[in-house]
Symmetry: C2
Subunit: 325 residues, 2 copies
């Protein structure tokens, strides 16, 4: 028996969102061989659209058409390349793998992970995060855990074994952005050079307001009042507001997801933002959650395995003349 | 004894805010003789600034320099004509009258009502609304009541006799505007002509989410999800979001201000917005509050009386040649 070369590309994984695209070339063990990042989200595609972007990536990495492709994110939405219907929660790993959509391309089928929907009077949706959650799932297949994916639209999810049972979206990142860019809260010009220690102090001050008992709508304006009353230098308004919104998310998330203070979730996402969440958790008296980093490639790999996409003929690099080596 | 002509102008009252200016010419009984509205708030003054705007109004109404002037609103802020310090709550009518700032002008002193501040770890401020609240106060001088002033920065206040004892700001109007104009929630284009009945239904649907037990941050995204899940036509997203935010304000305000369901507040402001608040109150199971309209001129008149501004020589119109008649 001939073992495949561990450096042989076995999967092209893509996290294709609204504003950006991340691609990973992985081997048959899920190790990342190459990574690619571009601001080529579904809302800012170049001429040639989806097909051109995909072709460029495959060409850049000299991939044979036999290397399977799996994408997650808004590429599977109604505004994406192919509308892949949401799966209802609770959604198990195998159901996500069975529900892959298929978009034919010049390089073979592009498989696309479905999003997940929570129906009811207050429906909620995710698309892309289900793959990150799969990437975070333990291989033991047991246990209950919860995951927080901070971001523009933060997601809080509960996981039982290999199933996403429940989730909730918080518009924390987008609220922060629109309030700082377009509301009166961002209209106080900075007068000092922000100091890292003071930035953290302002952030913590904002987080603490989550414990005031006053709901968010009645606390937002304090980002202006604390400056007017000289409790905060205006240069730190953004940190205070960030703390106020993240504190609210954690306070509300721990309640809405019915979590015990001990059941601190795992943080999935970029390091600097996750570290701010850690600080907010501890400020509110919870243990510091662990940070899992970006689990999208692991999730894509696991879903590709579950869907049998890797059970194909071994894939190869093209050489520079286009022949398969 | 000669009684003054009831049509003789006795007070020029101004509500001079961030984006607009309202002026009223009143007689010695507080009746409005003339009203003037212009988009000449402190952030969009014409060449010539504050002094020119004031001169134009006085010229338009042929006012003698003996007619006293009282203004409220952002004209008294640090970005206004003269920074008039906030008075701490609880603030009584007589304290507001004693705390008037004075800006000298070519037509005599412009008196300016101070704002009110609530100090503490979560400070809050109002400037302009204190005058509307004074205008709403009963002349009996007794009783406890509460006032809601819907708007960009809605204010909820408690009043005991002639004293503003407590208040809280909700950024409802501004949140609505920035989310509709700049967030993903406003990005779903309308596909149908909004129908009035359906607009109310969408508004009520948004209001009802306040009772879900899920905090605001975890419900905002539903303004998108209900459309994606075909529970709401996208043309009614604005009404749903408006209901969601106003419902939150009422739910949170009744809690934060420690109000019993029976202690329904009085609504002060423009009729169409106050009617939407009425609908939200009844949707959430409260009695419909009464609407007091715009009470700023009554407040300016009452404060001018309390400050003794009307105890001057009777004021007269100029004739068109500038002589006092």
């Amino acid at each position: 028996m001939i073992l495949p070369d561990p450096a042989t590309p076995a999967l092209l994984g893509l996290d294709w969102g609204t504003s950006s695209l991340r691609a990973w070339l992985m081997d048959a063990q899920g190790r990342i061989l190459h990574a690619h990042y571009a601001r080529q989200g579904i809302l800012n595609l170049p001429d040639g659209g989806f097909a051109q972007v995909l072709s460029d990536i495959r060409t850049q990495w000299w991939l044979a058409d036999t290397v399977p492709m799996l994408a997650c994110g808004m590429v599977g939405s109604i505004n994406g390349w192919r509308d892949v219907p949401y799966l209802p929660a609770p959604a198990a790993l195998f159901q996500l793998a069975d529900g892959l959509g298929v978009q034919p391309t010049a390089h073979g089928p592009l498989h696309i992970v479905p999003g997940v929907v929570k129906d009811g009077p207050l429906p909620d949706v995710m698309r892309g995060e289900e793959t990150q959650i799969v990437g975070m799932m333990g291989t033991d297949g047991g246990g209950h855990r919860s995951v927080v994916l901070p971001g523009t639209h933060s997601k809080w999810a509960k996981v039982e074994g290999h199933t996403i049972t429940e989730f909730c979206t918080f518009m924390t990142g987008e609220l922060f952005a629109v309030l700082m860019q377009h509301s009166i809260l961002g209209r106080l010009p900075a007068t000092a050079l922000p100091d890292e220690g003071q930035r953290d102090a302002a952030f913590v001050m904002g987080v603490r307001t989550a414990r005031s008992g006053i709901p968010l709508a009645g606390r937002l304006f304090s980002a202006r009042s604390v400056v007017l009353r000289n409790l905060l230098e205006r240069a730190y308004t953004a940190d205070y507001l960030s703390g106020l919104l993240i504190g609210e998310e954690i306070h509300a998330g721990m309640g809405a997801m019915d979590m015990t203070p001990q059941a601190t979730p795992v943080l999935v996402g970029e390091q600097p933002l996750c570290q701010r969440y850690q600080l907010a958790f501890t400020t509110l008296g919870y243990p510091a959650p662990s940070i899992a980093g970006n689990t999208a490639p692991a999730g894509l790999f696991r879903l590709a395995c579950a869907a049998g996409l890797l059970d194909q003929a071994p894939s190869r690099f093209h050489d520079q003349k286009g022949a398969v080596t």
